[in-house]
């Protein structure tokens, strides 16, 4: 008697080899047989007409905080994602001394757009070390987690407030090495750092005060464990990105570590730049380096309201200053004051072509409900004002709770994005899952890959796409016994309908602690998801108790 048999499915085993029809049998959390299975099982899934694949691995998320109140990382599991990597971009929730908790919350709020109230009301701060944080999230964990240590946090732990001001001394670097070893021993999957991010004061995050010798010393520790170094380069400029990937390549070769940088976007105006970056990636791989560019599948959509800061306005200091530092009343006053309003409109003139295309997607009061779904261009015509004035007027009328959608802002050329996703040296990822929750949905990128780029655009075969988000990712990150369907491997499995798998429409839901909201996308076409052989989610039964693991696992 097996624990689980998935019958009659089309097995896409994660290797990239052609799909085949077989049953999959599971016992004690492991795949034990693939082929014709006559014996019975405690749970039998009829997968006729469906694909049976390894669970997907999402290598770039910020679920660090959400895992404290939601061990499923909803809705990631429902999309077939069975392993997530939090702690990217130099930010993790451990190691973290009590005196730096609000500093970190501020950085998460500024960089990853996580609401302060969610931290205040959803987090019980009962850990400091990385091992304590791991013990904390393991309670109720239903998804596998491969957590990174944030470089900015590591600096704060060792250097205190000086981490935000200066380079480290030799003793402090040695201290960071020691703490990093403790984190890796406690199960960390690697280290993340950032060369672009700014903190809540709009000053460089601590990792940007590190000199090359500090990063080299930390990479040496990663080399002792063969673990990952993730960075955020200056992705807006190809020369800077190339300089960073050269820096990564030297560290990769010197310390024999995998490295990855994210994001890499392709737009109509930077195709040549992306081609230059990818040429350099190829050259560095040919030298023996591992420098994996991460490319997200979805186009860039941005929603915003003026009650919270939006990265859409970060290029405009007048706007961003009041959104970031202004009180609710001060923002309203700025919009009401004719002079201030005129200055704001003038400053944001570069977005003049965008305003008419913004869609009003959510309002608080009934008076404007009929306008939801219309563009600002349409609303402006109805009201006899300009689109930007319509946006400001609606925000005043709705007490700043008018939400606008800037859809498909970039990374939306199917041919170019598809070409990148299919590139053998591109790492499919960069979802940012769990972050930017009031700007866009960071969930469903795998559904978009398999629905849009496989089924609709045909940029990749189904087998190639599944390989990208399963065995490729496991191999890149050194995660053993996951990412393939084969006997002996852990039974992280997703069953989905290849004809319907997708991401659903973006929805605005109130499931964040502190009465907060976020944009999410439900899954479409996913039938059931198993973690370690246990049902973790199914379309019929919803979320179920499963036991996620910390990966790649405790150091030997």
């Amino acid at each position: 008697m097996y624990d689980l048999v998935i019958r009659n499915g089309r097995v896409v085993d994660g290797s990239g080899l052609p799909a085949y029809r077989a049953d999959v049998a599971v016992k004690d959390g492991r795949i034990v047989r693939i082929g014709h299975v006559a014996e019975g099982a405690r749970r039998v899934v009829d997968a006729a007409g469906k694909v049976v694949a390894p669970g997907f691995i999402d290598p770039h998320t910020h679920f660090d905080a959400q895992l404290l109140w939601d061990g499923c990382a909803k809705p990631a599991l429902s999309h077939g994602v069975t392993t997530i990597v939090p702690g990217n971009c130099s930010l993790s929730l451990a190691p973290l001394r009590a005196e730096h908790r609000m500093k970190l919350v501020g950085m998460f709020n500024q960089i990853e757009e996580m609401p302060l109230k969610a931290f205040r009301e959803g987090v019980v701060w009962d850990w400091e070390t990385f091992a304590e944080y791991i013990a904390r999230i393991r309670k109720g964990l239903a998804i596998n987690v491969a957590p990174l240590v944030g470089h900015s946090v590591l600096r704060l732990w060792v250097m205190g407030d000086a981490a935000m001001e200066r380079t480290a001394t030799a003793d402090e670097i040695a201290g960071m090495q020691a703490v990093l070893r403790e984190c890796l021993d406690a199960g960390a999957a690697g280290l993340s750092t950032s060369y672009v991010d700014m903190d809540e004061r709009l000053l460089p995050v601590p990792s940007r005060h590190a000199d090359p010798s500090e990063v080299d010393a930390l990479a040496a520790v990663l080399g002792e464990y063969g673990r990952m170094l993730q960075i955020v380069p200056e992705f807006y400029d190809a020369d800077l990105t190339i300089a960073r990937l050269d820096q990564l390549a030297e560290l990769s070769i010197k310390h024999s570590i995998p490295t990855t940088f994210s994001p890499l976007f392709v737009n109509a105006d930077n195709i040549d730049a992306v081609n230059r970056v990818m040429k350099r990636v190829d050259e560095q791989f040919d030298r023996g380096a591992r420098v994996w560019p991460q490319v997200q599948t979805r186009p860039i959509d941005i929603s915003f309201c003026f009650a919270v800061p939006s990265l859409l306005f970060i290029r405009f200091p007048g706007w961003y200053r009041i959104m970031r530092f202004g009180s609710h009343e001060e923002i309203l006053a700025s919009f009401r004051d004719a002079d201030t309003r005129a200055k704001l409109i003038a400053e944001a003139a570069p977005l003049a072509a965008l305003w008419p295309h913004l869609v009003l997607r959510h309002v608080k009061f009934d008076a404007n409900r009929a306008l939801v779904g219309k563009t600002l261009g349409e609303i402006a015509a109805l009201r006899g004002v300009s689109p930007v004035d319509a946006m400001i007027d609606l925000s005043l009328e709705e007490d700043l709770d008018a939400h606008f959608l800037a859809a498909s802002m970039g990374h939306n050329d199917d041919a170019e994005v598809g070409r990148l996703l299919a590139h053998p040296r591109v790492h499919v990822g960069a979802s940012d899952g769990g972050a930017h929750i009031l700007s866009f949905s960071t969930y469903g990128d795998t559904g978009y890959l398999l629905g849009h780029f496989v089924r609709d655009v045909k940029a990749l075969t189904l087998e190639a796409a599944v390989k990208k988000v399963t065995s490729d990712t496991a191999a890149i990150w050194g995660i053993p016994e996951r990412g393939l369907l084969q006997p002996g491997y852990v039974a992280d499995i997703v069953v989905f309908d290849p004809a319907t798998i997708d991401r659903a429409v973006e929805d605005y839901v109130g499931d964040v602690p502190g009465d907060g909201f976020r944009y999410v996308r439900a899954s479409s076409g996913v039938d059931s998801v198993f973690v370690g052989g246990a049902l973790a989610w199914s379309a019929a039964e919803g979320y179920q108790p499963a036991q996620g693991e910390i990966l790649p696992g405790l150091a030997a």
Binding site: I242, A243, E283, D286
Partner: protein, 76 residues
């Protein structure tokens, strides 16, 4: 081992580096004021890094910054 093609030349700052120090080291044949001016124009990501509080250019160079020591290469 593969060969690397030529890319725009850059450095990572050394301890204590400011614009003048980098100018003297990387552009020794150029008058310092002119060299500093060139470096700043090639590194607007550093020189014009806006600080939302002061609003002005000229931020100190961070130890993690990439500093270009030549202009962008001409397109092939």
């Amino acid at each position: 081992m593969g060969e690397l093609s030529r890319v725009r030349r850059s450095i990572l700052p050394m301890p204590g580096d400011g614009w003048g120090e980098i100018a003297r080291r990387e552009l020794p044949d150029v008058a310092e004021a002119d060299a500093v001016s060139r470096l700043q124009s090639w590194n607007l990501h550093v020189y014009m890094r806006a600080t939302m509080r002061t609003g002005g250019p000229g931020n100190p160079i961070l130890p993690s910054d990439v500093i270009f020591v030549e202009p962008p290469l001409a397109s092939a």
